[in-house]
């Protein structure tokens, strides 16, 4: 080897290529601890069982099958608990030496974040499929066609992306492994004060106002209409606006945090 030779590696980082390599890496993490997917699905499935078989009989306000009514909200809870693992995986990289190794290499600056975000999308999709299968076994039926199912999948993917970019922020800034997932509890709780479990009409004034105007209600109603095979209407646009709005703000904050901490 000649002394002081120039590097043989190309100088330019290719964000798509580097993201794909890092996506493959963190998907391997998920595959080697599949319990994270199961754990993500366990709490929502337990809620599904509890509300359908224990409380369901007493909930007279809902017409038709309660499992049909409940599933959309349960799917959102699944996502909210799944993204905690994304925050945790990112925190592990940032608190160890790996982030410094990657930053000193000629790779795309945000490839690490995109690798984790896309992993979150795949892992959450797996958990969602698990929850839907359990719901089907419990009697969930949908008259939705292929297009409506695709629309549901697209909306859930958008919700996952938006919430994942929120999860990136504590993943980058948390001081301890215990503190990293605390942010997800309010997100898991949010569907309770919405139309996810019971119609908002029976709630007292201020609570009803909040429930009707927070994002979960419009998203849940949209998914419910899509599953029922009826026209979605304005709720769909409101749901999309919420998702894109949260996505844009969370992405900007997460990228800003990343640039500030890791230039």
């Amino acid at each position: 080897m000649s002394v002081g030779s120039e590097a043989k590696t190309p100088v330019s980082g290719n964000l798509a290529h580097d993201t794909a390599v890092l996506l493959q890496r963190s998907l391997r993490h998920v595959l080697r601890s599949p319990d994270t997917i199961v754990t993500t699905a366990v709490t929502p499935i337990a809620m599904l069982l509890l509300f359908v078989y224990v409380f369901g009989g007493a909930l007279k306000a809902v017409d038709g099958s309660y499992v049909d009514y409940l599933l959309p909200g349960i799917l959102l809870i699944t996502i909210a608990s799944g993204i905690a693992y994304t925050a945790f995986r990112l925190f592990t990289d940032v608190s160890g030496g790996i982030v410094d190794r990657l930053r000193s290499m000629p790779i795309g600056r945000s490839a690490l974040l995109w690798g984790h975000v896309l992993t979150s999308l795949v892992a959450n999709l797996a958990s969602l499929v698990l929850v839907v299968l359990v719901a089907l076994a419990m009697g969930f039926r949908s008259g939705a066609g292929v297009l409506a199912w695709l629309a549901v999948a697209g909306l859930l993917a958008l919700v996952t992306l938006a919430l994942t970019w929120i999860a990136v922020i504590p993943g980058l800034t948390a001081k301890s492994a215990d503190g990293v997932s605390g942010f997800s509890y309010p997100l898991i709780f949010l569907p309770f004060v919405s139309s996810a479990f019971v119609p908002t009409a029976g709630m007292p004034g201020p609570v009803r106002w909040f429930a009707q105007h927070q994002p979960v209600t419009s998203i849940v109603n949209t998914i419910r209409d899509l599953y029922a095979g009826i026209p979605v209407g304005d709720q769909g646009w409101i749901a999309l606006a919420w998702c894109f709005g949260v996505l844009v703000v969370a992405y900007a904050l997460a990228m800003g945090t990343y640039r500030r901490k890791f230039g």
């Binding site: 000649s2 002394v3 080697r32 160890g96």
Partner: protein, 261 residues
């Protein structure tokens, strides 16, 4: 092509808040040499390395690595270096081989698997290649860590306290690795707080103290900075052991205690 200096640093300063960490560091490292940055904790060793590896920006001063300025051409620097930081940067969930292949793919190298196998062989990790890193010993991790830094043969290597926290056996392994690298013509800047490590490995030693290089040269040159060896009389204070022995005394000489009383 050769560059006149592998690492060139002039007047580097850095402070965190009002705490001045680097107060004007000047350093020059010739290609193919091993230079040890010697200093106690808090002397600014890691800060210097992080600036050179483009992880931190200096407040003022200039630094270039392999001909690329760290401030204006960080991508050029990153393509020419590898950093083995103070904290082992290996992926615990992946196997040793997968860790090496990860770096090879990120460096856009062909035949990542072949490269990984070569390095595993060179670092005595063949048997552990397909085991998860979580099962590795401290020394094996550090070896893998250094091996990951060698993927793609970067001409300049930064090793930040490569033997801190290792047992003596693992320390010797790392020393052997660094000597092999030096023999192969890689430029190595390593930081250490151990005098013997600097003595063992480095062609030149730079002593960093309170954010400045206060001495730099070969071991022989640094020895010349000391006054010539002189014989001094040093009064030896008795240790607790001496005191104890004097009081209880060996069984064979009980009378002596009586006489000293």
């Amino acid at each position: 092509m050769t560059t006149p200096t592998a690492i060139r640093v002039a007047g580097l300063t850095k402070s965190y808040g009002d705490r001045l960490v680097l107060a004007g560091v000047d350093l020059s490292v010739a290609p193919g040499t091993v230079v040890a940055l010697l200093g106690s904790n808090g002397a600014g060793k890691t800060t210097t390395v992080q600036i050179l590896a483009t992880l931190l920006r200096a407040d003022s001063g200039e630094a270039a690595v392999a001909g690329h300025d760290v401030a204006t051409d960080p991508a050029g620097v990153r393509a020419s270096i590898s950093l083995t930081g103070q904290f082992t940067a290996v992926d615990e969930v992946l196997t040793g081989r997968e860790n090496l292949m990860l770096v090879a793919r990120l460096r856009h190298l062909q035949d990542a698997g072949v490269l990984a196998d070569e390095l595993l062989d060179r670092f005595g990790l063949v048997e552990a290649a397909r085991r998860r890193v979580a099962t590795y010993s401290g020394g094996m991790r550090r070896r893998l860590d250094i091996a990951m830094g060698l993927v793609g043969d970067p001409p300049v290597l930064f090793l930040d306290e490569p033997t801190t926290g290792l047992d003596p056996q693992a320390r010797l392994e790392v020393w052997r690795t660094v000597r092999d690298l030096a023999g192969a013509g890689t430029t190595v800047l390593l930081t250490t707080q151990y005098l013997d490590e600097a003595e063992q490995l480095a062609d030149r030693i730079a002593i960093l103290h309170q954010g400045r290089i206060i001495a730099e040269g070969t071991l022989a040159e640094l020895r010349c900075l000391m006054p010539p060896a002189t014989v001094e009389y040093v009064e030896r204070q008795p240790t607790l052991e001496d005191v104890l022995l004097a009081i209880v005394g060996p069984d064979t000489r009980p009378q002596e205690i009586g006489t000293t009383r």
